[in-house]
């Protein structure tokens, strides 16, 4: 017997026939095709019961109600909360993306200490001990006043706790980030002698005259404004936009008034002059009960008559007169200011000029008008315990006067070699290294501070410069009291609640500060008698707490306040225009402005991957930011569309790509804000584009002392 070719043939054939006669081939063919359709690495999301959990979004000051759709207890989507007074079911793209912030790769997972430029993970006890040690030693040295804190906003119990910590330690250096709300607050104090907040009854107004606001691009309460804008046709209401660029707001408006940049206040006063000369104003309110009206009337009629300002504004006389007639004849006219999103303080004089229109129309504390409401004093804080060190420190003036963070960092920049106005800085819910103008200088100022503690949930532009990070929960992981959107008349006090996580070794920001105070010991500890933030908020909020805990929110009656404070035009009598943008006109012939794009965040947190997906490539293309300019500007400067160019300003320079847009005034170039973030491990937004705040320098407003910059002089050339 010999094994030969035929045997192998037999073997092969037999095997083939055997396999063919068995189900193997057919079954495998089917299974392999199924396998290729369902790769094992394609995720299969778990199914389960659908539930909804309500909370409030705190990504922007709009504070919309959101509803988190959960499946088997797992948060899968964020939707608008129907029936919520602020947004009634509507929601913006950033709110919907909030779950991406929860799982953001740049989340800080545990406390970390920077040692020789490298991060080292530490426990909460170790981290808190480090920070407490620093506070203690500064207090012992009698330098308690060099402890500073920068917070996003001053509202709410969490900000209250941080402020309290500073006071208890002995420092006045508590700062909140600028916003138009600060300016409005100062303005009504100045013009009406009223201590409270300004609100705009936009949805009942029938003539909205907006001076460069991004009314439907994130200004005020974004979602509420979208709804108010959509209902204009039904309400027979008009929107007029004064802006040098065809923004989305200008495009949506019934009338677009392309006034030259910087001339908005002049235009407002010119409308005032027409109203006064043509007797189109509320005499009872403005003249009879108003102070210094005659001086104001004299100023505007003599210096701001339409004929006189038509050159500075670029708006012709008939148009100004028709604007005045339209505004004055409307039932509920309302003039609003606060450029873009309104997240800059802006010029007090500009706000005053715009608000003079509201005063002349007499639409103050009326339906569809300008409202002044008293701040609800719902919080009851126990008395503060201040020892000697605290009292001595607190007696010393703050490093940055007027609560302006710009001036704090300015003080640091201009401090001599041997001076250290700030020895320790705490940063909560703010990202000054990105959001403040001249961000590069702010960064160097922060680097000068010997000890910086960040309470950020994310490794952001500021946290990366810290010496210690004590990471807090992101907003979906925590509860806090929320005090409505200041510029809206819908005053809602709400309680947010944790709807996910916490995913990492983070703490509630309120707990973090209480724990820190307890670690400092002594009188500081005594000022924080609460076990936890939950105990603190329930005690501090008093009676409000029970309602909030039960109902989730309290809506104040949306009736105009019953009283009408009079008006004093004194501030405007000394009007000499808002501060001009930085830079020499000859050297820098163009004006660079920041444009707020609804699809990009501009605050402390960088945009989510979803948001980046929606950003068109006329804003951001690969890693290049685009600068928008009129074809005329491009022709004059010799740059070409789609090509790289260099933008230079007195503060800095950047490589940009050129985007041509007919809708922007020649001579003005615009760059989107909210880009050029340090993303940490988030490569979806990190490092993309340029931060426009590195190119625009702050201009301190002579009246408010806050940063009034909205642009800067610039030049552009081919790269």
């Amino acid at each position: 017997m010999k094994i030969d070719r035929r045997s192998f043939l037999g073997l092969g054939l037999g095997a083939a026939a055997g396999v063919a006669a068995s189900p193997m081939t057919w079954k495998l063919t089917d299974d392999i095709s199924i396998w290729t359709q369902n790769w094992p690495w394609t995720p299969v999301p778990r199914d389960g019961e659908v539930t909804f959990d309500n909370t409030v979004c705190t990504l922007c000051p709009g504070n919309c109600g959101i509803s988190v759709r959960k499946i088997a207890g797992r948060a899968v989507k964020i939707e608008g909360r129907g029936g919520y007074p602020v947004n009634d079911g509507g929601v913006c793209l950033h709110g919907i993306s909030a779950l991406q912030y929860l799982y953001d790769p740049s989340r800080i997972k545990s406390p970390m200490v920077k040692k020789r430029d490298a991060w080292k993970t530490v426990s909460w006890d170790e981290g808190l001990a480090l920070a407490a040690e620093k506070i203690k030693s500064l207090r012992d040295l009698g330098r308690a006043n060099t402890i500073a804190c920068v917070a996003g906003s001053g509202e709410g119990t969490i900000a209250g706790l941080y402020r309290r910590l500073l006071m208890a330690a002995g420092s006045q250096n508590f700062y909140t980030m600028d916003s138009m709300d600060k300016t409005w607050k100062m303005l009504i104090a100045e013009m009406h002698g009223f201590d409270g907040t300004a609100g705009f009854d936009i949805e009942s107004s029938d003539y909205l005259l907006s001076f460069g606001t991004g009314f439907i691009e994130g200004w005020g309460s974004p979602v509420g404004n979208f709804m108010a804008n959509s209902s204009r046709k039904d309400r027979n209401a008009k929107l007029v936009q004064v802006e040098y660029r065809l923004s989305s707001t200008a495009a949506a408006a019934d009338q677009w008034i392309p006034a030259k940049p910087g001339s908005e206040a002049d235009l407002a006063l010119s409308i005032c002059s027409v109203m006064i000369t043509e007797n189109l104003y509320d005499k009872d309110y403005a003249e009879k009960s108003g102070k210094n009206f005659d001086d104001f009337a004299k100023l505007v009629t003599e210096k701001y008559a339409p004929e006189l300002i038509t050159r500075t504004t670029g708006i012709d006389v008939p148009k100004i007169k028709s604007l005045a007639a339209g505004f004055a004849r409307a039932k509920a006219p309302l003039a609003i200011a606060g450029r873009g999103r309104g997240d800059a303080a802006g010029s007090m004089m500009e706000f005053a000029a715009v608000h003079a229109l509201n005063c002349l129309a007499g639409n103050i504390n009326k339906k569809g008008g300008f409202w002044m409401t008293k701040d609800a004093d719902t919080m009851i804080w126990p008395s503060l315990v201040m020892d000697d060190a605290a009292a001595k420190g607190y007696a010393k003036a703050a490093a940055g006067p007027g609560g302006s963070p710009d001036r704090l960092f300015d003080a640091l920049t201009s401090a001599g070699e041997d001076e250290t106005p700030v020895e320790m800085l705490m940063v909560y819910n703010a990202n000054p290294c990105h959001t403040l103008h001249d961000a590069g200088t702010v960064r160097s100022a922060i680097e000068k501070i010997p000890f910086v503690v960040s309470f950020s949930p994310y490794m952001d532009d500021t946290a990366r410069l810290a010496d210690l990070v004590l990471p807090t929960h992101m907003f979906l992981e925590m509860g806090e009291d929320i005090h409505g959107c200041a510029s809206s008349v819908k005053k809602v006090t709400a309680l947010s609640k944790p709807v996910a996580g916490p995913l990492f070794d983070t703490r509630h920001p309120g707990d973090a500060v209480i724990m820190l105070a307890k670690a400092v010991d002594g009188s500081v500890r005594a000022s924080f008698p609460w076990e936890s933030y939950e105990v603190a908020i329930s005690e501090v909020m008093g009676d409000t707490w029970d309602i909030l805990a039960k109902d989730g929110y309290i809506k104040c009656a949306s009736q105009p306040p019953a009283f009408r404070p009079g008006v004093d035009f004194k501030l405007l009598v000394g009007y000499d225009g808002p501060p001009a943008p930085l830079g020499d006109k000859k050297k820098f012939p163009l004006i660079l402005v920041e444009m707020d794009h609804m699809r990009l965040t501009s605050g402390a947190v960088a945009s989510s991957p979803f948001a980046v997906k929606t950003v068109p490539d006329t804003i951001l293309k690969d890693n290049d930011i685009l600068v928008e300019m009129n074809p005329e500007t491009a022709r004059q400067t010799g740059v070409s569309p789609g090509r790289m160019a260099v933008v230079e300003t007195p503060v800095g320079s950047a490589r940009v790509k050129v985007n041509i847009f007919d809708g922007i005034m020649p001579g003005v170039i615009a760059m989107p804000g909210g880009l050029g973030h340090f993303g940490g491990d988030n490569r979806y937004i990190g490092g993309k584009g340029v931060n426009v705040n590195e190119l625009i320098g702050p201009v301190i407003d002579p009246v408010s002392g806050l940063d009034a910059a909205w642009g800067i002089r610039a030049r552009i050339s081919r790269a």
Binding site: L9, L13, G14, A17, V19, K27, P45
Partner: protein, 224 residues
């Protein structure tokens, strides 16, 4: 005769060669036979392994985390829908959560070993039991229990067979290639089915739909 001539001429050397050649011849003769033998052998091996070994290789047997007595529960609770119910939004709850089991099993109810495991591992730890679902369809399938049970009035047995009267859970068989439960393709390796519940592939859905509604339906009717 040439052969003879060669033999005489070349003597024994030749004979030796001849012996080799005749052996070769014999080999050639039986060559076909051996081939057939190999054929039969290979056929048998492959055929049998295709039938017997292949299925056991293709499917991995997995034991359920604990044994569950359906018959006992049906006796105690009534119909299937006392545990496998519809939620108020019309979705089907499927396998009960530990929480719903605890409505009765707050504390140990029987003294079986499985009951003890259930209490210790899942109730006390507040964990879900990782049941292996025999009738689990792939992720691309949207199956509406409401459409079949409520609208069409079908009973559970039509698709799930007599699991309700079983006292023990059989091992779950997972296809190593596709990750599907064996119940989708069917116990029978050819996928031949005797009962409606023996196989639940797309064609089985389509057949029934065509029979009952006159149309196989649009893709999105059952896909997501």
């Amino acid at each position: 005769m040439n052969e003879l001539k060669r033999k005489t001429e070349n003597g024994s050397v030749e004979a030796e060669a001849e012996a080799v050649s005749s052996e070769q011849k014999a080999g050639e003769d039986s060559g076909l036979g051996l081939g057939v033998l190999f054929f039969i052998g290979a056929f048998a091996v492959c055929f049998l392994s295709g039938w017997l070994l292949f299925p056991s290789l293709l499917y991995s047997k997995k034991e359920q985390p604990l044994n569950f007595n359906h018959a006992l529960h049906v006796d105690e609770m009534g119909g299937c829908d006392s545990c496998h119910y519809f939620r108020d939004d019309g979705s089907f709850a499927g396998i009960p959560t530990t929480e719903s089991c605890m409505e009765c099993h707050e504390s140990q109810l029987g003294d079986t070993e499985d009951e003890a495991i259930f209490m210790k591992e899942y109730v006390e730890k507040g964990k879900e039991v990782p049941w292996l679902i025999y009738s689990e369809q792939p992720d691309c399938v949207f199956f509406s229990h409401a459409a079949h049970v409520i609208a069409a009035g079908m009973d559970c047995v039509s698709c799930h067979g007599h699991i309700g009267t079983s006292e023990k859970l059989r091992p779950y068989e997972e296809n190593r290639l596709t990750g599907y439960s064996r119940d989708i393709w069917g116990k029978n390796i050819w996928g031949i089915k005797k009962n409606p519940w023996d196989r639940m592939k797309m064609d089985d859905c389509a057949d029934c739909h065509e029979r009952e509604t006159g149309s196989k339906g649009a893709c999105f009717q059952c896909h997501k």
